[in-house]
């Protein structure tokens, strides 16, 4: 497809797959299901949640889709590239990459250890880069690709006790914009979503006191974040790149 080809509706490659990191978590699982519903075979990456990942695969298969679960410790520098190779071997070239995997190791900055800092940066930011780098090679050659980085409102606003997480999530936004500008003319888009407080394992037990501060007066559903990722991964989002879609019930409004 020529970069100047603006025919409508836009198409997408008929082969290949979507790769969702952290696909066994709440937002990840909802994203896997949404992309599978759009007809993508999906590679469900997981770190520790093997059973949950298998349950996501089973749900996709039950709905008539295709999914496989692949384990990888994204803190390992060699793991992201290997994960991509495993995904390609399983379901073909990765056309859609959703960098969703994330961890938190909260502490006040003055008490944050090097390990707490580095482990969050490694998984939440560096692993995304290490997946994007090889994935782009195939995408620019194919003249089609969709990368969605799952950031957070914490990357845009403040949250005491999360300097590491905030740095990683803000870093993802810079990474998103820079790479988006580099590859836009190859019909490869790179965007971010910034969820607010969403019902998930990560926010379990902390939502109650926060809801009053959210204009929507409720936490978000994982499916509401997945729907925005689904849009950004769609052929129709062809002119959206380098953007951050905030999904926070008005929290940052």
């Amino acid at each position: 497809m020529s970069p100047k080809d603006t025919s409508w509706p836009p198409t997408r490659p008929e082969d290949g797959c979507a790769l969702v990191t952290g696909g066994s978590g709440a937002i990840g699982a909802a994203t896997v299901k949404a992309l599978a519903a759009d007809g993508w075979p999906v590679v469900v990456h997981y770190g520790r949640g093997a059973e949950r990942a298998q349950a996501v695969v089973a749900a996709v298969e039950q709905a008539g889709g295709t999914a496989v679960a692949v384990a990888a410790d994204l803190a390992d520098p060699a793991a992201p590239e290997q994960l991509l190779a495993d995904a390609v071997a399983a379901l073909g070239p990765v056309r859609v990459l959703v960098n969703n995997a994330g961890i938190t190791r909260d502490n006040l900055a003055m008490q944050l250890t090097d390990d707490e800092w580095q482990s969050v940066i490694d998984v939440d930011l560096t692993a995304a880069f290490r997946l994007i780098r090889p994935a782009l090679k195939t995408m620019i050659r194919a003249r089609w690709g969709r990368i969605v980085n799952v950031s957070s409102v914490i990357g845009l606003k403040t949250n005491p006790g999360q300097a590491n997480y905030a740095a990683a999530k803000a870093g993802l936004l810079g990474l998103t914009r820079s790479v988006a500008a580099e590859v836009a003319r190859r019909n490869v888009t790179v965007n971010a979503v910034a969820p607010g407080f969403v019902e998930s394992e990560m926010t379990e037990g902390i939502l109650e006191g926060l809801v009053d501060h959210i204009p929507a007066r409720r936490a978000g559903r994982p499916e509401e974040v997945a729907a925005t990722i689904r849009f950004l991964a769609s052929p129709e989002a062809s002119y959206v790149t380098g953007s951050t879609l905030v999904v926070d019930g008005g929290l940052g409004a």
């Binding site: 497809m1 020529s2 490659p13 290949g16 620019i140 050659r141 194919a142 500008a181």
Partner: protein, 104 residues
């Protein structure tokens, strides 16, 4: 090297990369043919394409050269790093470097 992103290439290539295939050592002529055809595919004007043409004159930028590196890797199994590519100024420079690396 010019890092400015130039206007869109006019490629109509739909190929996707397959397995990296390492073939027998390519001749300089093979490499030159591949480089010239790849640059044309990436949008360089065919009339302007010749070994002494500079990438700047051809409107070939850093993204195009990164993609050329990808093509070379797929074709010959030769990995060109960013710093290798950054030194290249002309088509001939690229052909020489790739030929040299492929022979190693």
């Amino acid at each position: 090297m010019n890092h400015q992103l130039f206007p869109a290439a006019r490629s109509t290539n739909h190929r996707t990369p397959g397995e990296t295939t390492t073939v027998s050592t390519p001749t300089r002529e093979d490499v030159e043919t591949l480089v010239l055809s790849s640059l044309e595919e990436l949008g360089a004007e065919s009339d302007a394409l010749n070994p002494t043409a500079t990438f700047e004159d051809l409107d070939v930028d850093s993204l195009d050269l990164a993609e050329l590196s990808q093509i070379v890797e797929e074709q010959y199994g030769v990995k060109l790093q960013g710093e290798d590519v950054a030194k290249l100024r002309t088509v001939e420079d690229a052909v020489n470097l790739i030929t040299e690396r492929a022979a190693q």
